[in-house]
Symmetry: C2
Subunit: 472 residues, 2 copies
């Protein structure tokens, strides 16, 4: 097994045990990028020089027995909305030509402080305003969409081109590409991970979080990222928590809510079946299944768009006037639509969000987590714009991908996407676990317990032959 194939937890353990050197690991990942990125196009820019320098430094420290933190020497990709001092944050947009970040974002600084080595910036749907990431190909089938907007990060992790990555999630942009590429994606509770230094799409819905190969890896990254930073006005000040799950978690008595409505409506049969099998597995692990009724479902789309559209437009106000031609047409049209929205629509969306948050919190008094599909269908072919459901209705692909994710953005609840197998075309399927505010620990515990019952996951079968991701 090559170092690039290791999970984050396994790589970190081997580095700490001095059985793997940071230089060896980073070189392995950089070689892998060179090999596969021309095919998947996950990266906007690879900072190989700096990464090799940081790896040598990490190796020298390790030789002295100094380990900065649990991510010491582990290579990471950052979605290119996230500032890294001295490098451009392109947002995968021509609007950002000539950009150069003056300082690290909070999350970049925290990853470095925990020892991570930044290897490059990954593609986003332009300014995170879309669900496909057209520059990037799906790791399992290059003719299919990567999902978005954190498509580059998910594909890099799925392809072995980063040991882990960060994404952002405004309507599903971590969970959708994680599900479509067979990796783990965590959207933390609103306010838990500071967004200072990250290009905003919609500040009341934006989140930043990890994309990893295992649930345990997500917990390791979250522990490094979480914590108050007053430079993000939404950041909350709470005691630090170690989010890592026990190695052998006991789920006895955990109440798992299974939606009786909404989350299994207009969902591909293979996706629904895989998620229901995973839910049955959770029951076999000792959880108690409880049917739950998802509230206010007919307002979800209106609230998501009612909040996101004017907030996105406000952020782009100036450039939309000065350089509209530099935006891709799909993004520019959405931004221009935001200029026409009245204050009344926006505030009604906010009020409805408050009500919806209350309703969800009530459900989460009765259950500890909710298990549901992450997305209603696996990765569609590039260029496919609509999906048709058995009842004859059709839906925009982007609406379909956002629909099961956005409730967690609207309510701010934490949500984890976990791979639960593949459809008959070989495309990955994701299950979504939603939990109580700031109770990531339960989500990660349930996800980890599920994951332990499954065969070791494989990297996406790109040029190199697929091999299992062993924990050690």
């Amino acid at each position: 097994m090559q170092p690039y194939e290791l999970s984050l937890a396994a790589a970190a353990r081997q580095i700490r045990a001095r059985r793997l050197s940071p230089v060896e690991l980073v070189d392995s990942v950089l070689d892998r990028i060179e090999q596969v990125d021309p095919q998947v196009r996950a990266y906007v820019a690879v900072t190989a020089e700096q990464a090799r320098g940081a790896a040598r430094e990490a190796e020298r420290e390790a030789a002295r027995g100094v380990f900065r933190g649990p991510l010491h020497g582990v290579p990471a990709g950052l979605k290119d909305l996230i500032d890294v001092a001295g490098t451009p944050t392109t947002a995968s947009s021509r609007v950002r030509a000539g950009h150069r970040a003056a300082a690290d974002s909070t999350v970049a600084a925290r990853l470095r402080a925990a020892g991570a080595v930044l290897v490059g910036k990954t593609h986003t749907h332009e300014f995170a305003y879309g669900l496909t990431t057209p520059q990037t190909g799906n790791a399992w089938d290059g003719g299919r969409v990567a999902g978005g907007s954190s498509g580059g990060s998910a594909v890099a992790v799925a392809a072995g081109a980063a040991t882990f990555a960060l994404g952002t999630d405004t309507g599903g942009s971590i969970r959708v590409p994680a599900a479509l590429n067979g990796v783990v994606g965590l959207k933390p509770t609103y306010g838990l991970v500071p967004r200072h230094g990250i290009t905003s799409l919609s500040w009341s819905l934006d989140h930043v979080g990890p994309i990893t190969r295992t649930v345990e890896d997500a917990a390791l990254v979250l522990t490094a990222l979480a914590g108050h930073d007053p430079r993000d006005p939404a950041s909350v000040d709470r005691p630090a928590v170690d989010h890592r799950p026990e190695q052998e978690p006991d789920l006895t008595g955990v109440r798992v809510g299974v939606p009786g409505n909404y989350y299994f409506d207009h969902v591909d049969a293979e996706v629904a079946a895989a998620v229901r099998r995973a839910v049955a597995q959770l029951e076999a692990l000792g959880t108690r299944l409880v049917e739950v009724d998802i509230p206010m479902t007919r307002y979800i789309q209106a609230i998501q768009w009612g909040l996101m559209v004017p907030e996105a437009t406000a952020y782009h106000e100036r450039t939309l006037r000065t350089v509209p031609e530099l935006y891709q047409a799909d993004v520019r049209i959405l931004l221009e639509a935001g200029e026409l929205m009245g204050a009344g629509d926006y505030l009604r969306a906010q009020r409805a969000r408050t009500l919806m948050r209350g309703e969800w919190n009530r459900i989460l008094e009765e259950v500890d987590v909710i298990a549901a599909p992450a997305v209603p269908m696996t990765a569609v072919r590039v260029g496919q714009e609509t999906a048709t459901w058995p009842d004859g209705t059709t839906e925009q692909v982007s609406d379909a991908y956002v629909r099961l994710s956005s409730p967690a953005n609207i309510t701010g609840l934490p949500a984890l996407s976990v791979p639960v197998g593949h459809d008959t075309a070989g495309l990955p399927i994701g299950m979504q676990l939603l939990g109580r505010p700031f109770d990531e620990r339960t989500l990660l515990r349930v996800g980890h317990a599920y994951e332990r019952t499954q065969p070791a996951r494989v990297l996406a079968p790109l040029a190199a032959p697929a091999t299992p991701v062993a924990p050690e």
Copy 2:
């Protein structure tokens, strides 16, 4: 001394000691209303029958030694935005003709539970959307404005026509009329007192709170009103607090912030002098004065109006379309203006509010309270629309009255208005104390300590000769 002249604390003590009967007190207040209300027009409706019935019931209970709570048998007026089951909530508007509240608002129910006797509904500026309350005359000079929008409540308390009253405050509507009529007004921290059953002006700025004759009285009422109610989405769930100040509070070491900017700019010289004398009195009581710099002052007005205007319009959306002619012209114009506001303006106001809240909270790490004028000038003559300042600038009267109050609405911080004397025309002057979120206790302690150093306050000199308000 007549019962209607008693402070709430004194009346409650005499009732509990069986030296005063609820019937006697309520009859005295109802007689006083009959005597003075034709002159001041504080009340929309007096519910004398029900009040007498409730007083008899309170008397029977007292005879059995049953006291519902600290307000047992004490008559109260409610601003006519506050629902009382079975009576109309007119909002002093023709739009509400035929209205009848189905149930008590949370605050009405809590006052009843604490034993208060509701004697009537007091005038508001139509739908609380103004700062004069044109129906009502100032208690100290009928040719001058009552202030608003809780003008009826403040005048009733100042005139002896209610032992205490409730008002609402969106940009100063409790503190402004309290200051202009020489009584105490408390705008509690946002989220402390539930607004369920109260007609909304602007839900993100609306507050409800007491108008009383003494600071101790305000503490008694606040203690009865505070506490979580999930039917107000902004209501917070916190442990109950007894807000009553110690009888002989010690202010040694309390840090009092005195604004070096904004709060004393464009303020009438007599008002500024009276507030500075009161601040010197606080220093004599052992507090430490600290000059503070008020942040983001040039955004205050834009934020207040940027939030209030579209929120008010959203509430009135339907009636503004169906019966626009029933609104007073000043209110209708403001509501119609709200229809033209874009989502971008509203969300920029919200973002600026978040920043301002952070800045104020930083100041309140360095001081315990901030002392400032409540309003920049005493009550203006009815019909006066602008104020002219010594530097030659002029200002709308409503802008002047709202300007020193709105920071506490924007930030949600608690703010108390306390009488600090009269100008040479005999008109009352108010000092405003602002404090940390949910730290009403410190505000009330400081206000009470100040009040104890002053001569007993007198009711407004209406038809009957003025007599001191004795504590017992």
